[in-house]
Symmetry: C2
Subunit: 369 residues, 2 copies
Amino acid sequence: MATVERVRVALGERSYDVVVGAGILAGLGEALTALGRGRRALVVSDAGVASRYGAPAADSLARAGFATVRATVPAGERSKSLRQAARLYDAAIAGGLDRGAWVVAVGGGVVGDLAGFVAATLFRGVAFCQVPTTLLAQVDASVGGKVAVNHPLGKNLIGAFHQPRLCWGDVATLATLPRRELRCGLAEVIKHGMMADAAYLDEVEAALPRALAGDPAVLARVVAGSVRIKAAVVAGDEREESGARQCLNLGHTVGQALEAVAGYGRLHHGEAVAVGLVAAGEIALRQGTGWAARDQERLVGLLRAAGLPTRMPAGIGREDLLAAMVRDKKTLAGQLRWVLPLRTGAVAVGQLVPEPVVREVLADVGAAA
Amino acid sequence: MATVERVRVALGERSYDVVVGAGILAGLGEALTALGRGRRALVVSDAGVASRYGAPAADSLARAGFATVRATVPAGERSKSLRQAARLYDAAIAGGLDRGAWVVAVGGGVVGDLAGFVAATLFRGVAFCQVPTTLLAQVDASVGGKVAVNHPLGKNLIGAFHQPRLCWGDVATLATLPRRELRCGLAEVIKHGMMADAAYLDEVEAALPRALAGDPAVLARVVAGSVRIKAAVVAGDEREESGARQCLNLGHTVGQALEAVAGYGRLHHGEAVAVGLVAAGEIALRQGTGWAARDQERLVGLLRAAGLPTRMPAGIGREDLLAAMVRDKKTLAGQLRWVLPLRTGAVAVGQLVPEPVVREVLADVGAAA
């Protein structure tokens, strides 16, 4: 077994550990026991991972003496709904969970967000444990405490901040992850380095071939490094109030607009973010933030090496993208605020960018007129 | 206009004021403006108070420059549902609310709990303002931050702790409150004095006739006194973790069981609590906590003077009550824990009571064998 890395997310009385290692899933029950709360758990997974990882997670809990209730939701973003949350409440309450119980999410971001929302609101909040089984969830969704379901009019509009008490990331689960999903996780990994840590980005660059080949020790190091970066940001702005957390939106202004315009599902989140990172870099170049042409070339090269797109797919209209950005939550008083890179490892948040510059860059990265 | 009383609920960065006065409803918009957040508000009320108090509240907000969206839910406990919450999300999002917006609850406990749950979860939490229009909501539900909807298997099972940023209690709204509801509020008022403050109970005793007659100045003093007591308790145990908040459950072990057994709606909450207070006193007498026969006589006399029941209604079975108590959330490892009075103004929490004593007392207060 590869080394186990343990990253503390420092949030006062809501602090918790993110544990990353290869083949640690079977140790989950013991780890929860050590945290000393109630002995009942609702284990939530989606149909894609229920038998492969949900069942072993529940078995580990049962071996450690937990009374477990299992619930499976359909795979995919549509499960982030009040309707699925209601199903999980039913399962938890009918299954005898009490205020000391755990909700354990085994799966990707959808399962984590949905189960986390249920944990935040069941009995006014019960203990939550994340067991992320995708690279994206391991480096992103599982750290930060943002939980939510979608509303027909927008993603993540109904939710809470509810920190997990443990995040248990087994990189062995990535062995069965579709290659496209592995690449999508790497988009957030590259974002973390670009945003906050040049040395980490060097490490990612060197590790990329072995990470793509699924080397568990390399993946564990990459995940732990990313978690460390995100944990430090979240610790400084737990509830997205001070603005410090905004840096995490690097690449997301264009990325989320692209997702919305392309139609959710056609482009995956990480792919859209990859294009968004390129766009943010291009804007920074034009705005003279200090970001240099060689930084941009390296970024594009890294994303390509990770198998990620660096330009818009065909048929994405510039005006549609602009409209989607303005609808986004990050507009304040109607003005778009950008996160722009200054150099590798540093960004500026809250930046205003003239609309002609944005249009130019969108065209440059392949948006149609 | 009577004096306006302002009670600070001290919860660190979540501290807020409870403002109590007669005829202050029209000043709501100005008060929210002074708190300096966004200028959009969802105003929620129920069909019973929508035209009488919901509309003036919304008007006050509009005069102060707020863009308001109004939503009305059916009167009654059944509105505390995920279904009604979903309707409010729809209204808020379609109405253009953003993360800086307010949710304003105008009504009794049902409206406050439901709208508060929506405020806790809309965009991961927006600002919440309580405008309680029943005595019970003014002295109880509006302080403490407990918000929730019901689940088919139990009340308040889905919820959160979400402190309001302002509680605006206009006792003039009590003029139209059904007399039975006024009495129910007095049950919690008497509980607060019995539990924490002998001088306040003296004041309530002296004020009772004028409070029942609807004297606004007297009601404002009574409400502010009760809020002060509850605020101090909540400040010491915001999320019901230390156990300090358990004292508020005085009279509720039997009270909530009685409500459930009688069938919700037949007995109102305050009436059930009144019987529960008598039962808790009787148990304390038998357990020798220091609670004296003259304390008990005075309690019974006060409840009677307030027009509240002090015995079970006919046909309530002792075994049904016991079963309902054990099902209740306050059992820990299957053992009932009681809040018992020690003397007027002081209680002990977490008390174990032998089952034969409980049976005896239930029979004494009128439960059928």
